[in-house]
C-alpha cells in the first residue's frame, strides 16, 4: 500500500509539473507553429527569479511568485517580438535562434549566480501524512498550483473572447484574420502565456530541486517527449501524456532503479512514433 501511495503521490507531482511545462510548449507550436527550444530556459528563469525575489530580496512569497511569473512572461514576449517575429515562418531559423537563446540564458545565469545550485526555501512549511507517506506542503502546493494553472488556461481559451481568438488562430489563421483577429497579437500573447507556464513550473519545482545553470535541458526533453506522446499541438494530449509519464517514471524509479526513468520516455517515444505517429490525441495529418 505504501509503495502504491509513493507512486501515486510522486507520480502526480511529476505528472503535474510535466503537464505545466508541456502545455505551454505545445500551445505555442499549435498556435504559431513555433518549436521553441528556449522553453526550458523560461523554466530556468522562473526558478532563478523565485530565488532572487524570495532568497535574495526576501520579498513575500505571493508577491515573489507573481513577479517571477510576470517576469518570465515578459521575457517570453520580448523574445517573440525581437527574435522570432522577423523570421517566424522559417522553422530552421526559429530552432536555431531559440537554441542560441537557451544557451545565452544559461551563460547569463552562470555569470550572475555562479555554477552552484541555489536553494529556494519552501513556500509553505509542513507536511501531511497519507498512510505512511509524508507529503510536504510544498509538493501539495506544486500539484495544486499546476492543476489550477492548466485549468485556468483551458478556461481562458474556451470561455473568453481573447482566449477563443487563440483557438481560432490555431485552427485557421486565414479565417481568423477575416474575423478581424490580428495573428501577431495572438502570437505575442501565446508566447507570453507559454513562457509564464514554464516559469511557473520552474518556480514551483525550485524548492524541491534547485536553481542551477543547465537546468533548462531537462524540461525541454520532457516537453518534447510529452508532446510527441500526447500529439503535437494537442493540449489535452499533453496533459494525458504528462500524467502517464509522471506515473510510469516514478514507478520505475521506485520499483526498479533511479537509473531507468529516462528509458521510459525514450521507449514511449519510439513506440508512439512507430505505432501511432500522430500521438495519443493528435490529429491525423491531412
Amino acid at each position: 500500500m505504501t509503495t502504491f501511495l509513493d507512486i501515486l503521490v510522486l507520480g502526480t507531482l511529476w505528472g503535474s509539473i510535466y503537464a505545466l511545462i508541456s502545455v505551454g510548449f505545445t500551445l505555442i507550436f499549435g498556435v504559431a507553429g513555433v518549436i521553441n527550444l528556449a522553453h526550458g530556459a523560461f523554466y530556468m528563469l522562473g526558478a532563478y527569479l523565485a530565488y532572487t525575489f524570495i532568497g535574495v530580496l526576501e520579498l513575500p512569497v505571493i508577491l515573489s511568485a507573481a513577479m517571477a511569473i510576470g517576469g518570465t512572461a515578459f521575457v517570453g514576449m520580448v523574445v517573440d517580438r525581437v527574435c522570432i517575429k522577423p523570421m517566424r515562418q522559417n522553422h530552421a531559423y526559429v530552432l536555431l535562434i531559440t537554441l542560441a537563446l537557451a544557451l545565452l540564458f544559461q551563460e547569463l545565469m552562470y555569470v550572475f549566480f555562479g555554477p552552484h545550485g541555489k536553494a529556494v526555501q519552501d513556500f509553505l512549511k509542513g507536511e501531511i501524512l497519507l498512510g505512511n507517506v509524508r507529503v510536504t506542503y510544498q509538493k501539495v502546493l506544486t500539484m495544486l498550483a499546476s492543476w489550477i494553472s492548466v485549468g485556468a488556461l483551458w478556461a481562458f481559451i474556451k470561455k473568453t473572447k481573447t482566449g477563443k481568438s487563440i483557438d481560432a488562430v490555431a485552427q485557421n489563421v486565414e479565417a481568423a484574420v477575416l474575423m478581424g483577429i490580428q495573428p501577431e497579437r495572438v502570437y505575442l500573447m501565446t508566447m507570453g502565456i507559454s513562457a509564464a507556464l514554464a516559469g511557473t513550473a520552474g518556480m514551483l519545482i525550485s524548492p524541491i530541486l534547485e536553481a542551477v545553470p543547465g537546468m533548462w535541458a531537462f524540461p525541454l526533453f520532457k516537453a518534447f517527449a510529452v508532446v510527441i506522446i500526447g500529439g503535437l499541438g494537442s493540449v489535452e494530449g499533453a496533459v494525458l501524456a504528462a500524467m502517464l509519464l509522471g506515473y510510469s517514471e516514478t514507478a520505475v524509479s521506485r520499483l526498479v532503479s533511479a537509473n531507468y526513468p529516462d528509458m521510459v520516455y525514450l521507449v514511449a517515444i519510439i513506440l508512439i512514433l512507430v505505432l501511432r505517429p500522430r500521438g495519443l490525441m493528435g490529429k491525423r495529418a491531412q
Binding site: T2, A119, Q138, L209, A258
Partner: protein, 409 residues
C-alpha cells in the same frame, strides 16, 4: 624533388617540435629567473578554487621566506572546467605557453586520466591533489617509464577511502549506534566503481545487512522515489557516496522524505556554504572530509585559520593536499637544486614530508600513490545553526553525533 623537400621539412619540423616538447619543462635551475608552478582545477567550482587558493597561499609563504635558493616562485592557473578535453587544453597551455616546471592540482579523476598520457610527452612532473581513482596510480605501476611523472598525495578512493568508510560504518554505525541494516547509495562515477562494491563486500563480511544498494546516474534529479524505496527496505543508515551528482536535490529529498540517518561521503557537503545552499536541509547529514579544524598534525589548525582569514571561507578537501603538494615540490626542487623531471621524481620518491594532513607524507615507489600511513578522514556532521562538528574518530571529535530531528531509534 618537391616530395623530397617536403619530407625534409617535415623531419625538421618534427625534430623542432620534439625539442620544444622536451624543453617545455626541465629548465636549467641556475639559468631560471623564477620557479614556475602550474595549478590545474575548475575555477568556478569550490574544489578548483580550493586548489588555486591553497597553491597561492603556499607560493606566497615560500616567497615571503626567500623563495627557493633566492628564486621566486610563480603560480600560473589552468582552468580545467571539470572536463577532460578542457583539462588537456589547460595543461598544454600551462606547459607550452607559461612554461611551467611542475604541475599540481586537478579535481575529477576523469580529467586527470585524460591529462596523464601527456606528462611523458612533455616530461613534466604532476602532483594530483584532488583525484581519487586508483586507476591513475595503477597506470604508474603498470607502465612506470610512461607514467612516472604522475604523483598523487590524495587518498585513493578505491582502497584507502573505502577501507576508512567500512571502518566508520562497522565501528561507529554498527557497534556504537547499534544499526545493522545499511543502504548504500552511490553515484555511478569513475572514482566509485571499485569503492562501492568493495564497501558492500566489507560490510557484509562484517555481518551487516546491506538492504539496499544502488549506483545511480549522476544526472538523476529526483531522489524521492529512491528514499521511499530505502525506507521500504527497512534501512537504518544510508551510506552515501556522492561527488559529481546533484547533491542539493539529493539532500533535500532525504530531508523531505525523513529517511534514515545519512552519512558517509558527500563532496559538496564538505563545503561550508552547503548549509546555505540546501536551506539548512543538510541538518544531520554526515560526510567524511580530508581536512577539519582538528589537530590532524600541528600544522592543521594554523593552516585552517590562515586560509579562512585570507579567503573568507572554510578550506575544502582539495586545499590541504594542494598546500602540502606545493611545499613538497618546493622542498624537492630546493634539495636537488634542479628542475629536471628525473631529479624531481627521485626526490619525491624518497620524501617524508610533515604536512597539514599527515605527519609523514611519502609515496610508494612503484605506483607513486600516497604511502599508507596515518591518514585520517574526520567524519563531520551538520548540526543546528549550520555548525560542522567532527563526530568520529574519538581522538579528533569536537562534538557528539546528533540524529536527524525526525529519526527515532
Amino acid at each position: 624533388m618537391k616530395g623530397k623537400r617536403t619530407f625534409i621539412l617535415a623531419v625538421i619540423f618534427s625534430l623542432a617540435w620534439g625539442i620544444q616538447l622536451s624543453q617545455a619543462a626541465n629548465r636549467d635551475f641556475d639559468k631560471a629567473d623564477t620557479i614556475r608552478i602550474g595549478s590545474l582545477g575548475p575555477v568556478q567550482l569550490p574544489q578548483g578554487q580550493g586548489i588555486h587558493n591553497a597553491a597561492k597561499m603556499a607560493v606566497d609563504e615560500i616567497n615571503e621566506a626567500g623563495g627557493i635558493h633566492g628564486k621566486k616562485v610563480q603560480l600560473f592557473i589552468g582552468d580545467t572546467e571539470g572536463k577532460p578535453e578542457k583539462g588537456i587544453t589547460a595543461m598544454k597551455k600551462l606547459v607550452l605557453e607559461d612554461k611551467v616546471d611542475v604541475l599540481i592540482g586537478c579535481y575529477s579523476s576523469g580529467v586527470a586520466l585524460a591529462i596523464q598520457p601527456y606528462l611523458s610527452q612533455y616530461k613534466v612532473v604532476y602532483m594530483a591533489t584532488g583525484t581519487a581513482s586508483i586507476d591513475l596510480t595503477n597506470n604508474v605501476k603498470k607502465d612506470y617509464e610512461r607514467y612516472k611523472y604522475f604523483f598523487r598525495n590524495m587518498i585513493n578512493s578505491d582502497i584507502r577511502q573505502q577501507k576508512w568508510a567500512a571502518k566508520f560504518v562497522v565501528e561507529f554505525v554498527n557497534k556504537k549506534l547499534g544499526y545493522n541494516k545499511i543502504a548504500i547509495l552511490a553515484e555511478n562515477a569513475k572514482w566509485v566503481h571499485q569503492y562501492a562494491p568493495a564497501l558492500k563486500r566489507d560490510l557484509e563480511q562484517a555481518g551487516l545487512e546491506v538492504v539496499f544498494y544502488e549506483m545511480f546516474d549522476v544526472d538523476v534529479k529526483d531522489f524521492s522515489p529512491t528514499f521511499a524505496a530505502i525506507k521500504g527496505k527497512g534501512a537504518q543508515w544510508i551510506a552515501h557516496i556522492v561527488s559529481h551528482a546533484a547533491s542539493i536535490p539529493l539532500v533535500k529529498a532525504w530531508y523531505d522524505s525523513q529517511a534514515p540517518p545519512m552519512g558517509l561521503c558527500d563532496v559538496q557537503s564538505m563545503d561550508s556554504k552547503f548549509w546555505e545552499m540546501t536551506g539548512g536541509k543538510c541538518l544531520g547529514e554526515i560526510t567524511y572530509n580530508f581536512i577539519a579544524r582538528a589537530p590532524l598534525t600541528e600544522k592543521t589548525i594554523p593552516f585552517w585559520d590562515k586560509y579562512v582569514k585570507l579567503f573568507g571561507t572554510n578550506p575544502v578537501y582539495t586545499t590541504g593536499f594542494t598546500y602540502d603538494g606545493v611545499y613538497m615540490l618546493a622542498e624537492v626542487i630546493k634539495q636537488k637544486r634542479s628542475l629536471k623531471s628525473e631529479d624531481i621524481i627521485s626526490g619525491l620518491e624518497n620524501i617524508a614530508y610533515k604536512g597539514v594532513l599527515h605527519p609523514q607524507i611519502g609515496f610508494e615507489k612503484d605506483s607513486h600513490d600516497l604511502l599508507e600511513g596515518r591518514y585520517v578522514m574526520p567524519m563531520v556532521q551538520w548540526q543546528e545553526g549550520g555548525k560542522q562538528v567532527v563526530i568520529w574518530p574519538d581522538e579528533f571529535k569536537t562534538g557528539e553525533f546528533v540524529p536527524p530531528p525526525w529519526w527515532k531509534r
